[in-house]
């Protein structure tokens, strides 16, 4: 089957009705353009989420004091036996085998002074394995080591925001940083980690050993000296996540002699799970937008089918003549199919151009992250081919099924 003559015939026929052809293909243009924009926005959001998951560490669980239900007044449980503590950490490390690293964490906000510069930042008291759990590399100097976990070790590791605000080009490693007027030696600088999914600047932080935070910075409740605000856990693999969460809950409940029906005074947050929820919301959004573009492609396809049916009727004599000079049914079918597909692909190409332009406009004005990939363009063009074949079939079959005698007599 030679497609060349059919393709040429199709192009000629489209040229003869240029304005009508262009108007007809508008639906496909809009459909493909919106498809490209939607997929680009979807992919952009997805890649932003992927980066956040990578930033948080996907094998991480976070155990927080306080009930999981954050609604309503949160009871202050400081001082009660129900606070999370170093003893919980030791119990978990001994009893939950899938834990590969574990660290307590307590937070405070403190004035930071270096030379004449001062800044108020978040100070976290953490264990030696904290950076490993957070998958947070050191840019300069060293991290926290087990040897730092004594009362006397006044060492600190600073985040990039603190470096920028306080040190102004000076090398922070080895410098003396006064935290709430207590001198600490900076031993390391963290690499930039960016914002959390909720917009908090993770680089605005100073990490100190848990013991030093308690002893030097007053981050300690008198009735519960080994309490921690949160416990961070790293698991061997993300597949263990649900099992591990159950095991951890069981250990913590057993230590508190709570029955299964009692409300737990702690909550286990699975960061990957949280983000997955957000991803699902994004996916729903992408689905709705995708449905919109599919509907406009269908509407566009129906428009094209309609105009091709008109075209077949208008050109009935031509079809009869072609049959009289030797065109087979198949030749007529393919001629009209190619004509429809050509129309749709031209619409698709214009739609791709509009969609790419539109994506960049949205990226510029709305400041949404977009990700334009080559396969999105391929998808757009494929969609227009599919629309052409599907909606060209009925008019083409009608043309091919004409009886040559009747077609020649058609007025």
């Amino acid at each position: 089957m030679k497609v060349g003559p059919h393709f040429r015939t199709a192009l000629e026929a489209l040229q003869l009705n240029l304005v009508r052809s262009m108007l007809t293909t508008l639906g496909v243009i809009i459909g493909v353009a919106s498809l490209i924009v939607m997929v680009s926005i979807g992919a952009g959001a997805q890649s932003a989420i992927d980066k956040q998951i990578a930033a948080l560490g996907s094998n991480m669980l976070q155990i927080q004091s306080g009930p999981g239900n954050m609604g309503g007044g949160r009871r202050d449980q400081v001082g009660s036996v129900q606070m999370l503590s170093d003893r919980d950490i030791r119990a978990l490390r001994d009893q939950v085998p899938s834990i590969v690293a574990i660290s307590g964490q307590i937070n405070t906000t403190a004035p930071l002074v270096y030379g004449n510069a001062n800044w108020t930042g978040r100070v976290e008291g953490v264990g030696a394995e904290y950076l490993e759990i957070r998958d947070w590399p050191i840019a300069a100097g060293r991290g926290l080591e087990p040897g730092d976990m004594t009362v006397g070790a006044k060492v600190a590791i600073v985040g990039q925001t603190v470096v920028r605000e306080l040190f102004e080009g000076a090398d922070p490693v080895g410098a003396e940083l006064r935290i709430r007027n207590v001198p600490f030696t900076v031993v390391g600088v963290l690499e930039a980690k960016g914002q959390t999914g909720f917009g908090r600047d993770q680089d605005d932080v100073v990490l100190v050993p848990l013991a030093a935070a308690r002893a030097r910075l007053g981050a300690r409740a008198r009735s519960a000296p080994d309490a921690v605000g949160q416990i961070y856990v790293e698991l061997g693999s993300s597949r263990d996540m649900l099992r591990a969460a159950e095991d951890i809950e069981a250990v913590l409940r057993a230590r508190r002699q709570l029955s299964a029906t009692d409300e737990a005074p702690f909550s286990i947050r699975n960061t990957a799970e949280l983000i997955r929820t957000r991803t699902e919301a994004q996916a729903t959004m992408a689905f709705l937008l995708g449905a919109t573009s599919i509907i406009s492609l269908i509407v566009g396809g129906i428009g094209i089918m309609n105009i091709m049916l008109v075209s077949v009727t208008e050109r009935t004599r031509e079809i009869g003549l072609r049959m009289a000079v030797g065109a087979r049914k198949r030749d007529i079918l393919i001629q009209f199919l190619i004509e429809t597909v050509t129309l749709c692909v031209i619409g698709g190409l214009i739609g791709v151009a509009v969609g790419v332009g539109g994506s960049y406009l949205i990226a510029g004005f709305a400041e949404w992250p977009i990700l334009l990939r080559a396969d999105t363009v391929v998808l757009g063009i494929t969609a227009s081919v599919v629309v052409g074949v599907v909606f060209g079939l009925l008019p083409s079959r009608r043309a091919a099924s004409l009886n040559p005698i009747d077609a020649l007599r058609h007025e």
């Binding site: 030679k2 060349g4 003559p5 059919h6 040429r8 015939t9 000629e12 003869l16 004599r317 031509e318 003549l321 072609r322 049959m323 009289a324 000079v325 030797g326 065109a327 087979r328 049914k329 198949r330 030749d331 040559p404 005698i405 020649l408």
Partner: protein, 230 residues
Amino acid sequence: MSGQPLVACEGVTKLYRMGAHEVAAVRDVTLTIGAGEYVAVMGPSGSGKSTFMNLVGALDVPTVGTISIAGRALNELDGDALASLRNRTIGFVFQQFNLLSRTSALGNVMLPLDYSGLTRAEAEVRARATLVRVGLGERMSHGPSELSGGQQQRVAIARAIVNEPQILLADEPTGALDSATSEEIMTLFRELNRGGITVILITHEPDVAAHARRQIRFKDGRVVSDTGGA
């Protein structure tokens, strides 16, 4: 006319359903036409001559009876084989020319070659040669609207013979032309017939029919006279 006839009709009847009853456009026609003949088919309107022509041209199928073209029984051929027959063995010339109005003379003549498996270059060479043969060498790139009636019919004839068919079927080819132009077209047909093509033309004009060596007259779907052959 030795050997096998080019066209052989055996008891051919074509019925059309008109509302409740059936009308026979062609009734029990049996005749043969040999290779190289020049036949005029005559008769009043509605006598069945156009239907007969469509049947011989493999555009329509008889209700009863068989037609053979060049030894092949049409009722045994499938759609593709019939299309191939129309493409290579039979050429049609219509009263209203039936040219594609927005395509040049050359493009119109090349139309059958779209279905002959030729390359575009081959097709163009052959179409140009055929246009020269019908006397339109200078007006190939003109559209039908820029050509006179006689020139348009020459384009249509070129289209019919571009694939060198054995049979040329013409349905009142001079019906839309003045008498001087008609004469030119008839001269062209005679030349083509001398070149070996079997010409079968429908007409109701006796002076046009006089060009043919054989006249077949239809009335009410039947052959009422035949000056030659069987």
